[in-house]
């Protein structure tokens, strides 16, 4: 196998505060926070960006991202973002939602924001579970997956199958950019043994940047990011990463679902 060396630029970002994050070990929320900060720095938009903090593990982001913040009620972030963006079109308005927030209690808000081509950016962290509330079934929980409210595994005859937000939004005329990426590092075998590739992360990084670019072009941008929740999945961190790369991606295939402005080609 060809070995590719990737470098990640470490160091201080203007868009990140010095506050240590509260995220659990192995959680990718911190990774996403950094990718967003890097995009804000890279695109030079920090001073005109407002984050709408949604309810879930992402809600404390106001401690980490050095920009204006408005905390929204559970599921309502796209509505709050719409209100702000429509009176301040010069701002970059984005939110990070969890799967429960965006695909369950806030599905209407998400669909209508996309349907109306609202120029905002939505990042959805899909970890297939309610993390902050302690591991209950999410709309994205896999068939058979054990959670605290599906102790014998998710019964899709009772609860329906996994909700695919990317596929759903891609059917809407109003959505300009729909992408599913992954934040879970991937294990690969090499001649020197097993190593972890951050290829996924680089794709996620590009997607995050693109999602802001699409907003700047006036479009609704949505990036779903597959993530782990090793604490609530009750798995060691590396097993959880493996679970995403082996199992979750089968149900939620990575890829570009829609790109009206062709930003991925640029």
């Amino acid at each position: 196998m060809t070995q590719v060396a990737y470098t990640i630029k470490l160091g201080k970002l203007d868009s990140l505060t010095d506050t240590p994050t509260h995220y659990c070990a192995g959680c990718e929320h911190g990774t996403l926070t950094r990718l967003i900060a890097a995009a804000m720095d890279g695109l030079g938009i920090r001073e005109k960006t407002v984050m709408i903090d949604s309810v879930g593990c992402s809600v404390l982001a106001f401690n980490y991202l050095n920009c204006d913040h408005v905390v929204a009620a559970h599921g309502r972030a796209p509505a709050v973002a719409t209100g702000l963006k429509r009176v301040h079109p010069e701002l970059m308005v984005f939110t990070v939602q969890g799967d429960g927030d965006a695909a369950s209690i806030g599905l209407l808000e998400l669909i209508y924001a996309a349907k109306r081509s609202t120029p905002i950016t939505v990042f959805l962290v899909n970890n297939a579970i309610y993390g902050m509330t302690g591991g209950q079934m999410a709309p994205t929980t896999l068939e058979g997956q054990v959670t605290t409210t599906t102790p014998f595994g998710r019964d899709v005859h009772l609860t329906g199958t996994e909700l695919d937000a990317s596929k759903l939004l891609a059917t809407l005329d109003g959505a300009a950019y729909v992408k599913r990426a992954s934040l879970a590092v991937q294990e690969i075998s090499t001649q020197r043994g097993k190593v972890y590739t951050i290829k996924n992360l680089l794709d996620a990084k590009k997607s995050v940047e693109n999602a802001f670019k699409v907003q700047a072009l006036g479009g609704f941008a949505f990036v779903e990011l597959l993530s782990t929740c090793s604490i609530n999945w009750k798995m060691p961190v590396l097993d959880a990463k493996r679970f995403v790369n082996d199992r979750v991606v089968k149900k939620f295939p990575l890829g570009l679902y829609k790109d009206t402005f062709g930003v991925e080609r640029q």
Binding site: K48, D53, D68, V70, A72, G83, V87, L91
Partner: protein, 358 residues
């Protein structure tokens, strides 16, 4: 509209009143009997007469509408949403967050007869929900109750002034009558007030530290302080911004207490009874919260009797009793389900009041 006299429905007057007050954004979901508010604003959206009116949107739900209003208001905009009772129930979530995060916005409830779907008749049965918080947690709305179409036109301006003064949501609580009634209205020649939002609005952290609207604090002591600060603000409102109208109360032996459309009927009864030599007056709270508690206490200390008239089963009645104390005689006429009392009913009740108290 400024300086002009026009013949308008209450809801239309309210919409124009909001535009005259410099409305920037409206988000709403249609519901009878308040739909003329979004209909009027939709018609005027884009009119060069209202350059400040930047955005109008019919939302997909009441929840979307109140949260969009909150979002726009967090950016310092004058944002408004209007609804009617069942919709007002759905707005409570957003109002709790807005009060918590000190976001000034204007919400209108053209109350119909509830609970449930109820009917489209006038009621004042959202008094509790409006004045006691309505949503979860420790907070209040500043509540303004219009009695005339003229007041429907003037209260949006006062509402925005109070909302921005206290950084708190303000509710205009009307009813199906004040919303649907058509009367002559005069719009005063005024320019919208300038509110300085630079110290708190979410407009991008350029050359300053971030503005954070936060409704989550896991440190109990910090949260105790934050809610305490909001509570102090409410005390200031109680001291400084109580509004009411007194009509022929000076020598009155009995004072009718009524707000909104009920006060209009009461005023008619007062005039009728006065012509018969009965010493009766009217006290009309305009701010339902802060409630004119000390003013009523003062009237009670003068030995006056009271008759509370409401289009509900007795909601403001509780606040009146609390204000006037156990010693005072308080009668009550309540009508609900869209039914309104007649002047004769008021007259008869008043005559019996000397012997019967509720």
């Amino acid at each position: 509209m400024g300086g002009k006299r026009v013949y308008l429905k209450g809801n239309e007057a309210l919409a124009y009143g909001a535009l005259e007050a410099g409305l920037n954004a409206y988000f709403g979901y249609p519901i009878t009997p308040s739909s003329e508010v979004p209909e009027t604003l939709a018609k005027e959206f884009g009119n060069k007469k209202y350059p400040e009116f930047k955005f109008f949107l019919q939302a997909a739900s009441e929840l979307e509408a109140i949260n969009m209003t909150l979002g726009a208001a967090s950016g310092g905009a004058r944002a408004m949403t209007a609804t009617s009772s069942p919709g007002f129930s759905l707005k409570q979530e957003g109002l709790s967050y807005a009060a918590c995060m000190e976001i000034p916005l204007l919400v209108v409830d053209i109350c119909r007869a509830g609970p449930g779907l109820g009917n489209l008749g006038p009621e004042q049965s959202d008094y509790f929900q409006g004045t006691k918080g309505g949503g979860h947690g420790n907070y209040r709305l500043i509540v303004l109750a219009p009695a005339t179409v003229q007041e429907m036109a003037l209260l949006p301006r006062i509402g925005f002034d109070l909302a921005f003064k206290y950084r708190n949501p303000v509710l205009i609580l009307g009813d199906a009558f004040t919303g649907q009634l058509k009367e002559d209205v005069e719009f005063p020649e005024v320019t919208p007030e300038h509110y300085d939002v630079s110290g708190w609005a979410a407009t991008g952290a350029k050359g300053r530290s971030p503005h954070i609207f936060n409704s989550l604090e896991l440190d109990y002591q910090k949260w105790f302080k934050h809610i305490g600060k909001i509570y102090e603000k409410y005390q200031r409102a109680q001291e400084n911004d109580v509004r009411f109208e007194e009509y022929r109360t000076e020598d009155a032996e009995t004072v009718i207490i009524a707000f909104g459309i009920a006060s209009r009927i009461a005023k008619g009864a007062v005039n009728k009874l006065r012509s018969k030599g009965v010493k009766v007056g009217l006290f009309r709270p305009i701010t339902l919260w802060p409630f004119p508690q000390s003013q009523l206490k003062m009237l009670a200390s003068q030995g006056k009797r009271f008759l509370v008239i409401e289009l509900n089963t007795g909601q403001m009645l509780e606040d009146v009793k609390l204000a006037v104390g156990d010693g005072a005689t308080v009668g009550f006429i309540g009508k609900w389900g869209g039914v309104v009392p007649t002047e004769t009913e008021i007259e008869n009740k008043l005559r019996r009041l000397e012997v019967v108290a509720v």
